[in-house]
Amino acid sequence: MGEHDEILDELAGLAADGVAELQRIDDLKDLGSAASRFLGKQSRLADLKAGLRDLAVEHRSTLGEALNAARTQLEDAVEVRRQHLDELAVGRRLAAERLDLTEELGRERNGHLHVITQTWEQLEDVFVGMGFTVADGPEVETDWFNFEALNLPPTHPARSLWDTLYLDSDDLDGIAAEQLLLRTHTSPVQIRTMIDAVRSGTGPPIHVVCPGRVYRRDTADATHLPVFHQIEMLVVDHDVSMADLAGTIEAFTKAYFGGDLTSRLRPSYFPFTEPSAEVDISQPDGSWLEVGGCGMVHPNVLTACGLDPEEWSGFAFGFGIDRLAKIRHGVEDLRDFVANDIRFLEQL
């Protein structure tokens, strides 16, 4: 009887002391070694369990129960402590990893498309949505494409409207002076489009927009640049009229500027169109914004491209991309577009 009671007492003490010790452990590694000391193969608990077979049968079950109870008590204590220490560890890690996200170290610059490109692409998208394709052409042009084919023969007084930069032809074999120039408008692309369509048999009908860079002999200031960008629309078909032109401009106005705005035409003069008009777009404040020029393609221009003006008619509408970007984004000085100051580029 004595041995049996001794063992029960020892188990009770073992469990109580063990639980108390486990609750004092602050480290997961120590917890592991303590757990194996109390519960492992070498533990006193294991010894006692092995000693069960030497006991009298009547004692085995009570002692077995007591053993299991002590084991469960210790295992639970280990688990509780482990959970507690895990939580503490996560808490310590989180605390250690805390970041002030308003610290801006190592911030990378974002890339920005130039606002001219943004405007250019938006305009292209609007015209593509209306059914147009997009054409481009060379920036170095001949006098014929830039002027003569556009009903501006060499002696035409209106040539002075375009301050033209000519290429020095000394380095170019077989090219006479003032034959090569930097195109003063995107209209030569219209000429190329028409000639190409006629020659390849792909048109008319022609529905194309020509965005591009153009050049003028001009000093850069707040409202002028020697290099800027235009976009021109060209339609050639049987029987297209001023009414189609005005309707197309109106559709463009609503698509690009917004549904509440409208457009108006004012008489103007361009050698390559007749009738010619200026296009104004209404503004939310009730004023009119002069956007660009338009007109019916002049019969001489159609003829120069191999199209019979009795059979075909056409219209064109062109305007400055830079000016539009300037107005839309409140840019005060056009020179900001070419200064390449990152402080400007990153704003838009």
């Binding site: 990378e108 610059r109 890339g111 920005h112 498309l113 130039h114 490109t117 292209e124 593509v128 059914g131 394709t133 052409g137 060379p138 920036e139 042009e141 001949t142 006098d143 014929w144 002696t155 007084p157 002075s160 930069l165 000519y166 290429l167 020095d168 032809s169 380095d171 170019l172 090219i175 002076a177 003032e178 090569l180 190409d196 020659r199 009908p205 529905h207 860079r213 002999r217 020697p226 290099v227 339609v235 029987d239 009229s241 001023m242 009414a243 189609d244 005005a246 309707g247 197309t248 108006r264 004012r266 008489p267 103007s268 003069y269 009738p275 008009a277 019969p299 070419v338 390449n340 100051d341």
Partner: protein, 805 residues
């Protein structure tokens, strides 16, 4: 063209508000550049009676004037004038008045005396030129009344319109009035001067025209006993409203008639014209004339001249007068000449000599072919009226090849087809006739096919073909009133593949943190050399400044300058790209229309290029970006050939080559800018550089990328390090690994490069991680070991490198 609304209203009634007037002119194609309301006598200015005039105790020149403004008070005003007496009615601007010149009248003290307002001169109220004293008003006005109401003074409107090149008629006030009258269907009253001249010989004067192709009309008259002096106020007001300054009565009258009728004229001092003879002919080579501005001009046979009895050149026809016959204060006999000159000749002479005068502007656009005699009458009658001059009897007129008014057949159907309208013949006729065109109706069956025979008025020489008339009808009808029709486009709108790729490249760059720059494409001489690039850009023949006289052959100078600019503004580490044209040298050009349409360009060397400058980055950054950019348009794994590239660090640059079907093609360069180039630009950080020829890349055939199956079996990694001589590029090692490993190599990653003394000076260690994987099974250890061995043997023997153990 500047004028006033009041002036226009002399010929046709105009009662619009300034806003309405401006809108009307713009809708007629006379775009209003500037509009100023003038003359408005301020509402606050009242009629006041002078009660007392006293001397200022401390200032001799100032009078103290007590005036009664009619409200039962007496106001003291200090006044610099002394032409008023008690009882006179004067114009008082009380305190708080804003004068036409913007001055605000305030209560103030002058030498200790209070002044509560201002007594106004005529000029201060824009009612005249007089500024000698204050205005003494008619005695029948009511004291206390607003002066503007008392005198029924309407403010005038001064307008500046932009006259289009096809509107020579609008270079005269009468022409503008005609347009207004046509739109408003109001009457037009043309000036009818007294017929002071009658055709016939003039004593002591003769004219001869030897160049009828130059001179369509040459008409002269003579006025004797002309006295010099100022022009009347009204005429000066008219001139000023047109932006002209009064000179003397003779000049003023000729200017006035030019503005009114669009006909320039020339006044000679008859005493300076030997025997009163004038001749007209083309100039001879080598001739010279000294023009009114004192400059001696060398003439060409394409210039028209007026000569004297001795065949000496007096004036440059239609462009500028000569100094020898200029009117002076002592001139008493004036010979006035009006002419019609051939417009292209005048345009050519004015352009060649850079002489752009009000006269040459009108002559080159085309003066009304019929207005000459009327203009001469108008000038003569005004000079008689203003100066008491006498007309020397007679008027000489010689006609040359004066163009007859054009007669144009206008097909109604064609007009409606072009405008999208359904105008009837009557409507078109009414519109054209309102503008002075003479219309002869044709047969009326079928009605819509009617052809109108239209005679153009003499003041519209710009109208020569059918479409000119179509435009006039649209203009006068109102372009904004034309119908609008929604166009149906069958074609599906789309971007071309090249345009889509260009956009994809831009987005890849922006995604990589690179911003788009747009430098001017012009360079200064020396810019290319500063970038170590060949110094032979094409030159601009007529640059405005030498800084913009060379066409760029590369985007490098522009982007380097952009980086440098930002560095000076303390923005470092910036990344910029540009897509733009460059203009190659040694290029050939074609002016042949067919050839250039075929090639899509005129200049062989015009190419579209992408340039990228990454400040603060070294060459490898540009290689990474190169791969990202090419991958965005479906081009994988470009090859790099280490090579010195002009402008770049010779040891850190490579050509970029890509495979194209049956071979490979150069598409650009990568690397790092040459440190010396950077130093020259004041940049003290490395700048990685990438340049791609988009003319080539965007035109590559589109090949849809094929998906490769992804293995579901485990992969095995093997690390291999080789000691490689610097002469062997890493790309060769990679290539050798791939070739030896065959299809089971799914990735080759260079993960370390190092140099050490032990390796030697010209070698480096390249460490690769090679991943093996099969599509259909798990590779076993033996297979992996075999592959590893095969790769090692192949790489070491083919490249002569050592495995690092």
């Amino acid at each position: 063209m500047k004028f006033s609304r009041q002036w226009v209203s002399e010929y046709t009634p105009v009662e619009d508000t300034p806003e309405e007037f401006s809108a009307l002119l713009s809708d007629l194609g006379l775009e209003v550049e500037d509009l100023v309301v003038v003359g408005g006598v301020p509402r606050e200015v009242v009629v006041a009676r002078v009660a007392d005039v006293r001397a200022h105790p401390d200032a001799d020149r100032i009078r103290l004037v007590d005036v009664d403004p009619g409200d039962g008070t007496i106001v003291q005003v200090c006044c610099g004038a002394s032409n008023m007496a008690p009882g006179d009615l004067v114009a008082l601007a009380p305190v708080g008045t804003t004068m036409p010149d913007g001055m605000e009248i305030a209560s103030r003290r002058m030498r200790g005396q209070v002044s509560d307002g201002m007594l106004c001169s005529a000029r201060e109220l824009t009612l005249g030129e007089d500024h000698e004293g204050i205005m003494i008003l008619p005695a029948d006005l009511v004291v206390g009344e607003s002066l503007a109401e008392a005198l029924v003074i309407q403010p005038d409107v001064h307008v500046d319109v932009d006259v289009l090149p096809n509107r020579p008629d609008a270079l005269s006030v009468l022409g503008i009035a005609r347009d207004v009258a046509a739109r408003r269907a109001t009457a037009i009253v043309e000036p009818r001067p007294l017929p002071v001249l009658s055709s016939g010989p003039i004593e002591g004067v003769s004219v001869a025209v030897d160049a009828p192709d130059l001179c369509g009309r040459f008409a002269v008259c003579v006025l004797d006993d002309v006295t010099s002096g100022p022009s009347p106020d009204w005429l000066i007001r008219r001139l000023k409203s047109a932006g002209m300054r009064p000179v003397n009565v003779v000049v003023d009258v000729t200017n006035f008639v030019m503005l009114e009728l669009g006909q320039p004229s020339h006044a000679f001092d008859l005493e300076c014209v030997p025997e009163g003879h004038l001749g007209v002919r083309w100039a001879r080579p080598g001739e010279t004339v000294t023009t009114l501005d004192g400059v001696q001009r060398r003439l060409e046979p394409s210039d028209g001249v007026v000569v004297d009895r001795d065949d000496r050149v007096l004036t440059l026809a239609g462009v500028m007068g000569g100094a020898s016959t200029e009117i002076s204060e002592s001139t008493s006999s004036v010979l006035v000449e009006v002419a019609w000159w051939d417009p292209p000749s005048i345009a050519a002479t004015a352009a060649r000599l850079g002489l752009h005068s009000e006269a040459s502007l009108r002559f080159k656009r085309g003066v009304d072919t019929a207005i000459g005699p009327l203009a001469l009458q108008r000038i003569a009658s005004l000079l008689v009226e203003f100066t008491g001059a006498r007309v020397r009897p007679g008027m000489l007129e010689v006609l040359g090849d004066l163009p007859a008014p054009a007669v144009i057949d206008l097909r109604l159907q064609q007009l409606n087809r072009r405008l999208g309208t359904a105008f009837s013949a009557v409507e078109v006729t009414t519109i054209l006739e309102s503008m002075g065109f003479v219309v002869e109706r044709g047969s009326t069956t079928p009605e819509d096919a009617e052809v109108l025979r239209v005679t153009v008025p003499t003041w519209r020489p710009d109208c020569t073909i059918e479409v000119d008339l179509t435009e006039e009808v649209a203009r006068m009808y109102g372009m904004s009133r034309l119908p609008r029709r929604r166009l149906r486009i069958e074609q599906r709108g789309h971007l071309s593949e090249a345009q889509r790729r260009r956009r994809a490249i831009r987005r890849a760059l922006v995604g990589a943190g690179v911003s788009e720059a747009m430098p001017l494409p012009f360079l200064a001489p020396g810019d290319l050399e500063r970038c170590d690039l060949p110094a032979d850009g094409l030159l601009i023949a007529n640059p405005l400044v030498s800084e913009e006289s060379v066409l760029r052959t590369s985007l490098l100078p522009g982007l380097v300058s952009a980086v440098a600019y930002n560095v000076t503004h303390r923005s470092e580490g910036i990344r910029l790209f540009e897509i733009g044209r460059v203009f190659g040298v040694g290029a050939r050009a074609t002016t042949d229309i067919e050839a250039s349409v075929n090639a899509g360009r005129v200049l062989d060397g015009e190419r579209e290029v992408l340039g990228v400058a990454l400040a603060g980055r070294t060459a490898p950054s540009s290689v990474h970006l190169l791969e990202a950019v090419l991958e965005s348009i479906g081009i994988l794994r470009p090859s790099l050939l280490n090579e010195a590239v002009p402008g770049l660090h010779p040891g850190r640059s490579a050509r970029v080559v890509i495979d194209v079907g049956d071979g490979s093609t150069d598409v650009g360069v990568v690397g790092e800018l040459h440190p010396v180039v950077l130093t020259r630009h004041g940049i003290h950080e490395p700048v990685a550089w990438l340049e791609l020829d988009l003319s080539v890349i965007l035109a590559l055939p589109v090949v849809a990328r094929r998906a490769q199956p992804v293995s579901r079996y485990p992969s095995a990694d093997v690390d291999l390090a080789f000691v490689v001589d610097d002469s062997v590029p890493a790309i060769a090692v990679r290539q050798a690994i791939l070739e030896a490993g065959g299809a089971l190599v799914v990735a080759v990653r260079l993960f370390d490069v190092f140099r050490s003394d032990a390796l030697g000076a010209d070698c480096r260690n390249l460490a690769y991680s090679v991943r093996f994987q099969a599509l259909d099974r798990t590779l076993n250890d033996r297979e992996v070991a075999d592959l590893r061995q095969r790769i090692i043997e192949s790489v070491t023997t083919s490249l002569g490198v050592d495995l690092r153990s």
